[in-house]
Symmetry: C2
Subunit: 337 residues, 2 copies
DNA sequence: GCAGAATTCTACAACGATGCAAACCGGGTT
DNA sequence: AACCCGGTTTGCATCGTTGTAGAATTCTGC
């Protein structure tokens, strides 16, 4: 059995509360006593029982992070960043996968498992405006990555519309006019899809390029295979296009693969731009031009915001929205000119 | 404040212990009482405080999973599988990143944070034989992915030597003779590197192909960029080669990219085979032939083994080793013929 | 050498749950 | 009518820690 405060206390010949005081750096402990206790701690290899500490103090120093799935590189890299940032603050992270499923997202918000955490960072995909009520929870909650709706909690998110518009304008500036889009999802559940589509349309409108629905291909899950499937569909439609905007890198890469199988040269025949700036984007053939939505900042800010909420004592502050800056990363699949 | 057992009890007009009995499905509760209590639970939205439960019962229903970094797709996908499997058993998973760093791995094994978990699944990279003692820990521990050493705990791992040998023989069978290797790491810390190199050499020996050290390129971290760097180094050496065996997919993909930049055709000039069977391998250009080390099985078995250890009551059983079956997944970068 | 103030240490009560054992409550035996 | 016996319910101790309040000790100044 692991040693407890009392074991240490007995060995050191003090009361167990004194040991607790030593551990918590209570100022009024005589150096000699402290040394004695520390020796006993070392000798027994004592480690505090964090469960007991949490029960007593109400703080768990653990946060939950819920993403659709780690299988999607975007979320894997994001999760890695959140965990690394948490580690710096001495926090533990429990990771949950929702599969982007509304019911699982809602279930998570009500889960007793959250009683083991101080708060939750949620990347929702399935929930919609009708679920706003479910977000009014009695614990700190930060939404990461969406901002479609008027929801009663903090958001840390990216400039989806502006970034998509910039990506589209980038393609337009390089002379492309028939720009296909992969990842639209009319179900309207997935916030980013709608927002990025809006940015795309704004760019077209600003440049007097007509919007052509036959260039828009839907994809619900945003996996590599979805991008591939979408590109097959686009090719089957037999409409001309000279560029593709994938709503995420993974789909763009899947699409690029199919494109090249079909004999189209990238970027000569078709320019391809993605969204996310995954590690992988720099090493595909050709390397993928993409939008860096500011992930590192997103991860750190989401955690920072959550920690502020956790530390908050007085009356609840109104929800805040934090927006990351994006940049376009030029690579081979869509050269600037 | 969240409702407690006592709040529910007061509302239902029973003792708080009866509420506890209802929650724990204690058999001798009158249906009428049970209904009354359940109504009160619903009305208050009572959720058990898992910290308190853990403190009392000693079980946390949480396990820790430590991987080098989620940034590496292999570990991200693996982590996703472990979490999904845990979810099925009603377990929570806390994810830690060690960076493959020995000191952080060792620190983790001694971390008080583990007192919040029932056990640990560790994917060690940095530790060596001299650290065997550190693995003799007072909690359930399963090593996932390495089996270089004689360590006093359960291992769930892959057939590194056999799989690497099979991959090499696959290339040999397709007529390649100058097979380069990327990912060797003489530091000998990283078990897989040594084992896969051994498999490679065994295959060569079995087919009377001489081992040529100038075909072996080291890489310590196994990222995409490491594969790219290694391939640059190999090209600089200016030795002829007609195939490349990347010790993981990520490096193989990075290398393949450089190879094509340099004008070598894959697979005509150089066949490429990887190791891991990432999602991504099916969508690269060309798609990547690789070894599927049985990851899904590894993830499930690691968790299953850990759960068995956790459930274990009597004297500690001797450590076990579980080995996954591998398969070679033929794709374009290295056709069978 | 002693009062009074500081410092250092300790006792006790939580935190919210579970395990154990005892108490209760009817109906069937004797 | 006392007794026993399941099924049901309850009270108490406990898990390992921290907060509060007060007791014990040491220090200070005269």
């Amino acid at each position: 059995m692991a040693a407890t405060l009392r074991d240490v206390a007995k060995l050191a010949g003090v009361s167990f509360k004194t040991v607790s005081n030593v551990i918590n750096d209570y100022p009024h402990v005589r150096p000699a006593t402290r040394a004695k206790v520390e020796r006993a701690i070392a000798e027994l290899g004592y480690k505090p029982n964090l469960n007991a500490r949490s029960l007593r103090s109400g703080r768990t120093d653990t946060v939950a992070l819920a993403v659709p799935e780690l299988n999607l590189s975007y979320f894997a890299e994001l999760a890695g960043m959140v965990i690394a940032a948490a580690e710096e603050s001495g926090l533990t992270v429990v990771v949950e996968q929702t599969g982007g499923d509304r019911d699982r997202e809602l279930a998570l918000l009500r889960s007793p498992r959250l009683s083991m955490t101080d708060g939750l960072i949620l990347s929702p995909l399935g929930m919609g405006q009708e679920d706003a009520g479910a977000l009014d929870v009695p614990f700190p909650l930060v939404l990461l990555g969406e901002r479609t709706f008027d929801w009663p909690c903090d958001h840390v998110t990216m400039r989806n519309v502006e970034a998509a518009r910039a990506a589209t304008e980038y393609l337009l500036a390089s002379g492309r006019r028939r720009i296909a889009v992969i990842g639209e999802y009319e179900g309207e559940v997935m916030g980013s899809a709608r927002l990025r589509l809006r940015g795309y349309r704004e760019a077209l409108a600003a440049h007097d390029v007509p919007y052509d629905a036959s260039l828009v291909v839907r994809a619900t899950l945003w996996h590599r295979a979805d991008g591939a499937r979408a590109m097959h569909e686009l090719l089957d439609r037999d409409v001309p296009f000279d560029a593709v905007f994938g709503f995420n890198d993974t789909m763009a890469l899947g699409a690029m693969r199919v494109l090249q199988e079909a004999g189209r040269r990238v970027p000569e025949d078709v320019a391809v731009i993605g969204f996310d700036d995954l590690d992988e984007a720099a090493y595909s053939i050709p390397s993928l031009t993409t939008v860096d939505p500011g992930r590192e900042w997103l991860a750190r800010t989401a955690l920072g915001t959550l920690l502020e909420r956790i530390a908050e004592t007085g009356p609840k502050q109104p929800p805040r929205t934090e927006l990351a800056d994006f940049t376009i990363v030029e690579r081979e699949s869509a050269p600037r000119n």
